[in-house]
Structure formats: structure tokens, C-alpha cells
């Protein structure tokens, strides 16, 4: 990767007369949906440098979780993010089941998959609406969000809640999908199948969308790989990376899931905002197929391996060990690590890595060389979620510089290992 391109030095040290100026955007700004601070270095209209400072939405959720029992932690995890309100619990339940050695019955795995994919449909349509709004195409925003209502209604029918579905529990799921509800699901899926081509026409065959998004916010294949981008952001750059494909879990192992790239639409990979729209719309189609497969091939049997919640609490209290859980959230890979100790109800350690954390640095090459007016759509193109992202905060009591670089962090990490090993 070109090291000059990702230049975080904002001051111009070599030139005698100033040819660039800086524009701060954020932490709170109408162009941004959530708090984050950008400092752009501009030469005329062109962006020549960008500094990103997250850390304005930290809530200390992992710390709160370490003071609660695991069932309470599940609902806390659901509230890490409002859009990914099944992705975090799916990753957490997998981590805890991994640590405590709890089996999940096949029917429960299929139900989890269905709810997870329904969430992907609603998240991608929500993003498509936001993208249209950022382009100034509010007609499309309202049209897409009208279409999105159907999946929200279906989720409410299946789970009882419009958001924060409270469906997974350690060892299974809490609600079945009986035949009459499966009928509702089929109905919603056929609604989407009929409308998807309209959506693709409205976005991808529209002159104004193409003008504003083609060759804007380009993330090349090499940059995406070097910066460890995940999810649709990476796939839009042609990186065939998808947890469902690479490490199948739940019901995904029974299907042939392939990471979707712009090539599937029959266009060369550019990695621009247009490709992001292509990938997300095609993934809605993929999700519809996955849900159909799950509904058709849903195995019978138990919903959970430990039906009594009080017994589950006892099993979790006895559990000892550590586990990881990964899930392909709509924005990319979400990762949960948990450590349990026998006799302690609360997790001893809980670590969450949300997709936006991995995608954050891909903003830097995306912004470079583009215009000020492109900032909102490029910022939205990775589908950022600050409340997912902010998982740690650094407080320096001495009032010193509260920024740690990689070398210092490695040093601190090694010191902690030595301290813990005695």
C-alpha cells in the first residue's frame, strides 16, 4: 500500500506557504448519523488528508456485563447496536456455548439463521435508504424504507418485537416458527422477490445515482486486504470474504454460500460507492434464498437443549473456560470472546469486536482525492456504527496524551501477560 496515501500527518512541514487548510467535521454534525470526529486536510475542493477520531459513544457495556449473570448479559449484548440486534446475541451465544460446551438443536440453528438473514435484509435496505438520502435523492429513501417496513412487520410477527428480538438463548431459541408464521414469511419473501428488480433498477440504472457514486470513495482490492476491511465494504472491493462462506456456522454449512462481489452483477470491480450499493442489493437477494432454503428444510425437534431457564443458569454457573463466537453481521464480521469461571455467574472477561472497528481505516483511502460534497456518501458507504465500534476508552489521570500508538499498546499487552503469569 502506498504509505504516502495514508498520511495522518496533518501539518505541512516541507512547504513554506500554506497551500492546504483543514476542516473539522464532527463529533456531532448533520452529515453524520452518529458521533465521530473527522479532520480533513483540503487542497481546494480535494481531500488530501484525513484524521479520524472515534470514541464519543463509549458506554462501557463489557464492564456492565461483567457485573451481571449471563442471561442478563444476552439482553445487554442485544443493545450494543439497534440495527444488529440479533448479530451480537448470535455471536455471544456461540461464544458461551463454545465455552460451556452446550449443544444447539438443529431446528434452533435454522431459526437463528432465518432471523439473522431477515435482519440483513432490513439493515441493507435501511442503508440503501440512507445512501439515497445522502445523495439528496429523498424520493428513493422513502420508497426503500416503505419496502423495508414489510420485513420489520415480519420480524414483529415472528419474534413479538420490532427491534431487539430477544430470540436466541444459550442452547437454542425462545420462539418457534410454526406453519402459519412460516406462511407469513413466504408471503414477505415473494413480496421482496417481486420488488428487488425494481430496487435494482431504481438504484443501479439511475443516472443521478451513477453520477454521484461511480469512482467516488474507491477502496482498491489491495487496500481492502491490507486494512483488513470486512463485510460488504471488503466484498465491494472484490475481496471474497464472508464468515458464512469461510467458517460456516449455524445452518450456513448446509448451504453453498458464496461471498458476493460486484462481479456477480457482471461488472468489473472498482471498489467505489456504486459497488457498495451493488453488493448490498445482491445480498438482499442472497438472504431471501437462504431464508427460503431454511424454511423448506427446517428440521423438526427441540427448540433448546436446556428448556428450563433455572437449569440453564445452573449449567452456566458451573461452566469453566473460554470461547469465541463469530457471525457475519450485515456490516461484516462481529466477534465475541468470553471467559467463564466455575462458581461465578458473571463472565470474567467479555470482549466485543464489531465490524465497523475493522472497516474504520478503509475510510482513509476512500476519502483521498474526493471532494467535500462527497464526504457524507463516502462516510455512509461503509455503513458505520459508532455505538458498535466504541469498545474501549483511554483515560489518562495525569492529563497527558491519551492516544496510544501500536508499539505502546504491544508493550502494555506484553507487560500485562507478564503480570498475570506472575
Amino acid at each position: 500500500m502506498d504509505s504516502d496515501k495514508i498520511n495522518l500527518e496533518l501539518g505541512c512541514t516541507t512547504c513554506t506557504t500554506q497551500t492546504t487548510y483543514s476542516v473539522p467535521i464532527g463529533p456531532v454534525h448533520p452529515a453524520l448519523k452518529e458521533p465521530i470526529q473527522f479532520t480533513f486536510r483540503l487542497s481546494g475542493e480535494r481531500i488530501v488528508g484525513v484524521d479520524i477520531k472515534p470514541g464519543y459513544a463509549h458506554r462501557g457495556i463489557e464492564y456492565m456485563g461483567m457485573k451481571r449473570n449471563l442471561i442478563q448479559v444476552l439482553y445487554l449484548a442485544e443493545r450494543i447496536c439497534g440495527i444488529c440486534s440479533i448479530s451480537h446475541p448470535l455471536a455471544l451465544t456461540q461464544a458461551v456455548e463454545n465455552a460451556a460446551g452446550i449443544e444447539v438443536p438443529p431446528r434452533a440453528q435454522y431459526i437463528r439463521t432465518i432471523i439473522g438473514e431477515l435482519e440483513r435484509i432490513h439493515s441493507h435496505l435501511l442503508w440503501a435508504g440512507v445512501a439515497a438520502h445522502e445523495l439528496g435523492f429523498d424520493t428513493l429513501l422513502h420508497l426503500v424504507w416503505k419496502v423495508r417496513e414489510k420485513v420489520m412487520d415480519l420480524l414483529e410477527q415472528l419474534t413479538g418485537n420490532r427491534v431487539d428480538y430477544a430470540i436466541p438463548i444459550y442452547g437454542g431459541v425462545r420462539r418457534d416458527i410454526p406453519d402459519e408464521k412460516a406462511g407469513l414469511a413466504y408471503e414477505a419473501l415473494s413480496y421482496y422477490k417481486n420488488l428487488l428488480q425494481d430496487m435494482i433498477n431504481a438504484f443501479l440504472h439511475d443516472k443521478s445515482v451513477a453520477m454521484r457514486t461511480s469512482n467516488v470513495g474507491v477502496l482498491t482490492y489491495d487496500d481492502a486486504v491490507a486494512l483488513c476491511a470486512v463485510g460488504p465494504t471488503a466484498r465491494a472491493s472484490g475481496v471474497k470474504k464472508d464468515v458464512r462462506q469461510d467458517m460456516p456456522y449455524l445452518a450456513y454449512a448446509d448451504m453453498d454460500i458464496r461471498a458476493i462481489t460486484p462481479e456477480d452483477y457482471g461488472k468489473p470491480v472498482v471498489g467505489d460507492v456504486f459497488d457498495n450499493i451493488v453488493v448490498r442489493l445482491l445480498e438482499v437477494d442472497q438472504s431471501i434464498k437462504i431464508i427460503e432454503y431454511c424454511l423448506e428444510h427446517m428440521p423438526g425437534g427441540e427448540l433448546t437443549s436446556i428448556p428450563k431457564v433455572a437449569a440453564l443458569l445452573a449449567v452456566l454457573k458451573k461452566a469453566d473456560g473460554e470461547g469465541i463466537g463469530r457471525h457475519e453481521a450485515p456490516r461484516g464480521e462481529v466477534f465475541h470472546y468470553i471467559r467463564l469461571e466455575a462458581g461465578v455467574e458473571a463472565p470474567v472477561a467479555w470482549k466485543v469486536k464489531a465490524p465497523t472497528y475493522s472497516n474504520l481505516m478503509s475510510w482513509v483511502p476512500k476519502f483521498m482525492g474526493d471532494e467535500i460534497a462527497d464526504i457524507p456518501i463516502i462516510a455512509a458507504s461503509i455503513d458505520p456504527c459508532m455505538c458498535c465500534l466504541d469498545r474501549a476508552t483511554l483515560v489518562d489521570q495525569g492529563g497527558g496524551e491519551a492516544v496510544k500508538l501500536k508499539e505502546e499498546l504491544v508493550k502494555l499487552s506484553r507487560e500485562k501477560t507478564r503480570r498475570m503469569c506472575g
Binding site: 442471561i71 424520493t139 413479538g160 420462539r175 433498477n201 431457564v309
Partner: protein, 130 residues
């Protein structure tokens, strides 16, 4: 093509349900009085799904005071009353996960379809179940 969709939209009935009335009344109590006298009508809300997770129901006689619901509640909604060995539920804080319903050994807790829970006082009788 989007234009054709938009023209079609014009002919559709609006999806918005003007609940409870189309325009904000000058006085809410005045409106309620009119409704009581039969001079005004309230639009019914959009029907809810069959097993919506709404306001909790509590069967006081079935409750044995085991406090398991208090243990699993993620939002600390439920308060134990040690004298009577019964519970009080503050619905204003409830996150509607209904984990307490799942764990209740006697089936004293249940779910209802009631969702009209907006109130200016979090301790109003409508928001306390006991």
C-alpha cells in the same frame, strides 16, 4: 421507472394510521370528554401480532415469591416486597424481553397485547403491575 411507481403511489390509500385522531387536539382531556359523550371518535390502532411482547401480566395468587424473575431481569424492572413475598413490576423500565415469563415456575407472569404505555409519570398506576 421510479416515476411510474411514484404516480401509482398517489392513487394508494396512505399507509399512516391517524391514531388516535388525525390532528393534535387543543386539549387532550377535552377530546377524551368528547369521546366519552360520543361526539368524537378515536381511530383504532393498527392490529398487533398475535403474540406481541407487550405489557406484563401478573397473577398475584400464583406467585410464590421465589425471586427467579428478579434474578434474570436485564433491566432491574422487578422489585421484591419482602413483607408480602410478592413482586412489583415497574413497566416504565421494561425492555419487553419477557425472560421473566420464561423462568416463572408457576406461570404467574404472562404477556399481554397492551402496548399503549406512554406516560409522563413513570410511577403512574398504568405503569406499575403488582
Amino acid at each position: 421507472m421510479i416515476f411510474a411507481t411514484l404516480i401509482k403511489q398517489l392513487l394508494h390509500k396512505p399507509a399512516t394510521n391517524p391514531f388516535p385522531v388525525k390532528y393534535m387536539p387543543k386539549s387532550v382531556t377535552g377530546l377524551l370528554g368528547k369521546v366519552a359523550r360520543g361526539e368524537a371518535r378515536i381511530n383504532p390502532p393498527v392490529p398487533v401480532p398475535t403474540d406481541l411482547r407487550g405489557k406484563l401480566t401478573y397473577d398475584r395468587d400464583k406467585c410464590i415469591g421465589c425471586q427467579l424473575c428478579i434474578k434474570v431481569c436485564p433491566a432491574n424492572v422487578i422489585m421484591f416486597k419482602p413483607d408480602e413475598k410478592k413482586i412489583r413490576i415497574h413497566v416504565a423500565r421494561c425492555t419487553f424481553c419477557h425472560q421473566c415469563v420464561d423462568i416463572c415456575p408457576t406461570g404467574a407472569l404472562g404477556l399481554s397485547n397492551e402496548f399503549l404505555l406512554a406516560d409522563t409519570d413513570r410511577f403512574s398506576p398504568n405503569l406499575i403491575v403488582e
